[in-house]
């Protein structure tokens, strides 16, 4: 069959002139022949991973050793949650977003830097990525599955990240090099931005020392409170649940409550105050078993994670949204409670109470620390009044790009 190789290659070139333009002057075998091999292969072949690319793009093959490929974190989560009740849960529900080859991100036919849309093929829904373009997941019931959609997935229209509006792409902060080295990003906020000390909040030293920039500057964050995976041994049983179909025939997913406002805050693994959200407060019901009197709504884990919502704006919320808002730190007083979870047998007092829940990559803020933070010191009062005077009087930019 080797005699066919030049003909196949010639045909490919006709179809893929753009690829050729990006890689002009290379012969087909430069990309389509793995080291030591002699057969023309598709670059995207799972077995070859990046073989056809790393001949030139040296070092980038290490990306397949990193989280987007191995997905250890997610697998470990499933192991301590849904795998306890279904050993095949991962394969059924989580295997679609697994980095297999360079062309997963670098589009075939036009291999160049990934577009934002390419990243968002996986970084979508509840996962960071969609938010950058101003998209939040909709409710799971089909009543809410309407309106704007990308790749057939509907979303709530939100304010896009200020960097997105300015035309920056994911790769501008998340370089290939950094991802290959297992880093989350190549640039942090202060690599580009020097906080302007004329801005009131920036003059407060505690803010600068203990807060991530995005603790204040994340305008919103998608939050999913109580994630339910409903297992259907008989697909006919799904008829009573008018919910959006997922990747698995065996399951439907739903949630108790979704929000997309300024997210709760906690302490991340750098010891800084950061947005946090449930990932996941995970419940499980085997529908057939439940209909036969078995358990249902089993709480498997109640885990939160610190994260960086990609919803950055120049502005922020006002002072009291943190300093006078214990629920934002999961210290909600009983008197202010709206959702009565115990009545609904959810086994938690409240989503915004730390008891029964844990932070995976950091910690919740202690009640004592919140008390100190919420005490109205003279300095706080002075800054608070200045902040409101600013709102009522004149405009300032929050940082100098």
């Amino acid at each position: 069959m080797h005699w066919m190789t030049p003909y196949i290659a010639g045909f490919c070139l006709l179809l893929s002139s753009e690829a050729m333009a990006a890689h002009g002057g290379l012969v087909c075998g430069s990309c389509h022949r793995p080291p030591g091999g002699s057969v023309v292969t598709a670059v995207r072949a799972a077995s070859s991973l990046a073989d056809g690319c790393v001949v030139c793009h040296r070092g980038y093959g290490r990306i397949f050793d990193q989280s987007m490929a191995h997905r250890k974190g997610e697998k470990q989560f499933v192991q301590r949650s849904y795998a306890r009740v279904d050993s095949g849960f991962w394969e059924k529900n989580c295997s679609s977003c697994h980095l297999k080859s360079c062309l997963d991100c670098h589009d075939e036919g036009e291999p160049k830097k990934p577009t934002v849309a390419a990243c968002q093929r996986c970084h979508k829904g509840y996962y960071t990525g969609w938010d950058y373009s101003g998209r939040a997941p909709r409710e799971d019931n089909m009543r809410y599955q309407r309106g704007l959609a990308i790749n057939d997935e509907t979303f709530l229209k939100m304010l896009p990240d200020v960097h997105s509006r300015a035309g920056l792409t994911c790769g501008d902060c998340h370089s290939m090099s950094s991802l290959s080295q297992g880093k989350k990003s190549s640039k942090g906020c202060i690599d580009c931005h020097k906080p302007d000390l004329k801005i009131l909040e920036h003059r407060i030293s505690v803010h600068m020392e203990r807060l991530e920039c995005y603790a204040c500057h994340s305008a919103w964050g998608a939050q999913e409170y109580a994630t339910f995976f409903l297992r259907f041994r008989d697909p006919k049983m799904k008829e009573d649940f008018d919910l959006k179909a997922g990747p698995s025939e065996d399951y439907l997913r739903s949630s108790y409550l979704r929000k997309q406002d300024a997210p709760p805050l906690g302490i991340n693994d750098r010891g800084r105050i950061s947005p946090i959200r449930p990932l996941f407060i995970a419940y499980y019901t085997d529908i057939m078993s439940a209909r036969n009197g078995g358990p249902e709504n089993t709480l498997l884990v109640a885990e939160w994670r610190a994260w960086f919502p990609h919803t950055v704006q120049r502005g922020s919320v006002t002072c009291e949204r943190c300093h006078d808002n214990p629920a934002r730190f999961l210290l909600e007083p009983e008197a202010g409670r709206i959702f009565q979870l115990k009545k609904d047998r959810l086994q938690l007092e409240s989503f915004w109470v730390q008891e029964g829940q844990r932070m995976v990559n950091g910690s919740f803020m202690s009640a004592n620390r919140y008390l100190r933070m919420s005490s109205k010191s003279p300095a706080y009062t002075k800054a608070y009044i200045e902040k409101w005077k600013t709102l009522l009087n004149h405009v300032e930019n929050s940082s100098r790009p």
Binding site: L148, M158, Q260, T285, G315, T318, P378, I385, N397
Partner: protein
């Protein structure tokens, strides 16, 4: 429906081999010998149902029945209930729950706008609140999308139409809609074997003179959802979880909606039912035809709790024929002559709320339980300068349900049931939605010039698909007050809390002022949840502030209602300059209008310049 019910009844009677054995008694009892008496005073079948009590076969006996199952339905209520209860029937004919005038008008405002006529479900002559005769058009003649929407959607909750199909929302028509107990499945479950298990009937034949909260919930579980909010239930995101016995849960109601639990209204938690606040005139009307519900309603929080400056009013009953005495005859403890009855906002006596020994008391109409009403007049929290403009429930609502983005599609290629005409006709409605939330809730000025919670009412986006599949309207926003805009409506959620929204919580969060979820940039306020048809306008608000410039881009329905203007917004936000130090409502600075220049006096300068 009625014909099919009759046929079913006939067949059932044949199957059960009804025999007529005693010619001296009503033959009704031959088949229905265990049927509950409607009440001790309603112990004769024929008085209400008509029919021939001497006939020895079912067909003849039933042939002249009224209804036959429900003699209180509008077709026959004149000869049935109306023969004895003329006063009540005449009121019910003009009550807003029977005319649905407000509902129809609001639909018109959302779609094609008003056409100069006022429509009710049946049309005809009635008397307006000023006593003048008024002629209404029948909604059957409203030949446009507004009429279609009402007849095919909204009219399910018309007191003159029965609904035996909707799980959790089934009810009879006419008087029986409220005075007979229906269960979720509209199935008779009483003692009578002939009727047992029959669908399309009340759960029992025992009449309920005083309807409980469940009766009201059968209709008031959609739109404003006040009956479910009152009970501490929420049909939120319709996620159908947590499951209940492997079905959607934790509770299910009509439209395959699930109900989860929220904090109930403080009155419900105390054991009060809807009719403990709402007078019979609120519900059954007062004989006059009103254009909107809020014009008919006569109860107000201040009636029992007082306002900041005025204590509850009462009037001593002196005449024997006073309405409060007559109405309370069925209560555990009827009112008596000489009692000091509390007055409604329209100056009429409550039948169950009275003044005694220096306190206001409310008697549960069904329970007889006495509740002492806390009077707030003169308390520091309720005499804050400027707060006199607030409705009580602007601060005292736990939540206020808000449905954002109501996307209504009318498909002319499909057929839908017209519940007023009683037939299927071309045109089918379906709805999708954007987002639901409870808290915070926006405030604006209502028709009384008071600051009140408002809720989308409605944010309707209309799509019309013609019979050939083409769309003649796509996500169309109707004109209101001369321009295309969405609308919010003043709203009392009926999810009242003893604890109010805190001072800094309300003044410090512009979401309460109508800016939606947002961030603050200098003196601009930017919404974060954006309407699909705009680049910047929030879906969950009606105001924006751009470099200090406040713009309203949605309307508040009802006459004289509006969003707060820039001056009011700034005044509300300026309170934040005082709140860090003057955090208590009793602080003397709140007894009069705030003087912001005080910040520049020597005391404040010294305090604020301290390191």
């Amino acid at each position: 429906m009625r014909l099919s019910a009759l046929i079913i009844s006939l067949l059932a009677c044949l199957v059960s081999a009804c025999t007529l054995t005693d010619s001296n008694r009503s033959t009704c009892l031959s088949c229905h010998n265990a049927l509950e008496h409607a009440s001790p005073a309603h112990d004769d079948c024929v008085n209400c149902h008509g029919g021939d009590p001497k006939a020895r076969n079912k067909g003849t006996a039933h042939a002249t029945m009224r209804g036959p199952a429900n003699p209180s339905a509008p077709d026959t209520w004149e000869e049935a209930c109306g023969r004895c209860h003329r006063y009540q029937l005449e009121r019910v004919k003009s009550t807003i729950m029977q005319t649905n005038a407000g509902m129809i008008r609001n639909v018109q405002l959302t779609w094609e706008g008003e056409d100069g006529r006022t429509y009710t479900t049946t049309g005809g002559k009635q008397f307006a609140a000023d006593g003048q005769p008024v002629e209404f058009a029948a909604v059957e003649d409203l030949d446009n999308l507004s009429g279609e929407l009402y007849r095919k959607f909204c009219s399910r909750c018309h007191v003159g139409s029965s609904n035996a199909e909707s799980y959790g929302a089934a009810h009879a028509s006419g008087c029986a809609a409220c005075h007979f107990p229906w269960n979720d499945t509209a199935t008779y479950q009483g003692r009578d074997k002939t009727m047992k298990g029959r669908a399309g009937h009340s759960a029992s034949h025992a009449m309920i003179a005083l309807p409980d909260t469940q009766v009201c919930s059968r209709c008031h579980n959609r739109s404003g959802r006040i009956a479910i909010s009152y009970q501490g239930l929420y049909d939120g995101n319709n996620g159908l979880v947590p499951t209940s016995g492997g079905e959607g849960g934790p509770l299910m109601t009509s439209g395959a909606r699930n109900l989860t639990s929220i904090a109930p209204d403080v009155h419900f938690a105390a054991g009060m039912e809807c009719i403990d606040c709402h007078t019979s005139r609120d519900v059954m009307g007062d004989g006059f035809a009103y254009r909107n519900m809020y014009l008919q309603t006569e109860v107000a929080c201040e009636d029992c709790h007082g306002s900041g400056s005025q204590v509850p009013r009462y009037r001593e009953t002196v005449r024997e024929n006073e309405e409060s005495l007559r109405e309370s005859k069925g209560y555990k403890q009827p009112a008596t002559s000489g009692m000091k009855m509390i007055q409604t906002s329209k100056g009429r006596s409550y039948s169950n709320v009275f003044y005694r020994d220096g306190a206001v008391w409310l008697q549960g109409k069904r329970s007889g339980k006495l509740h002492r009403s806390k009077v707030i007049t003169g308390t520091p929290e309720h005499t804050i300068a400027g707060h006199g403009r607030l409705e009580c429930y602007a601060c005292h609502s736990h939540t206020s349900v808000q449905c954002y983005g109501c996307h209504t599609r009318y498909d002319k290629g499909k057929r839908g049931m017209d519940f007023i005409k009683g037939e299927e006709t071309a045109g089918f409605f379906s709805e999708t939605e954007d987002y639901r939330m409870l808290y915070p809730f926006p405030l604006a000025l209502n028709q009384r010039g008071r600051i009140s919670p408002v809720t989308p009412g409605c944010q309707t986006f209309v799509t019309v698909a013609e019979a050939d599949g083409t769309q003649s309207k796509t996500e169309y926003v109707a004109k209101f007050k001369g321009r295309q805009q969405l609308r919010f409506a003043p709203f009392y959620s009926h999810n009242t809390g003893k604890k109010s929204v805190g001072c800094s919580e309300c003044h410090g969060n512009p979401q309460f002022l109508g800016f939606g979820q947002h961030i603050v940039e200098g003196n601009s306020i930017k919404g974060t949840l954006i309407c699909e048809r705009s680049d910047s306008k929030p879906l969950d608000g009606f105001l924006s502030m751009d470099r200090g410039r406040v713009t309203a881009y949605s309307a508040i329905t009802r006459e004289n209602a509006r969003p707060m203007n820039a001056s009011e917004i700034k005044r509300a936000l300026s309170v934040n300059l005082c709140l860090p130090c003057h955090s208590k409502a009793g602080d003397r600075i709140y007894r009069k209008g705030i003087n912001l220049r005080a910040l520049d006096d020597s005391l404040h300068r010294r305090l604020l310049s301290a390191p």
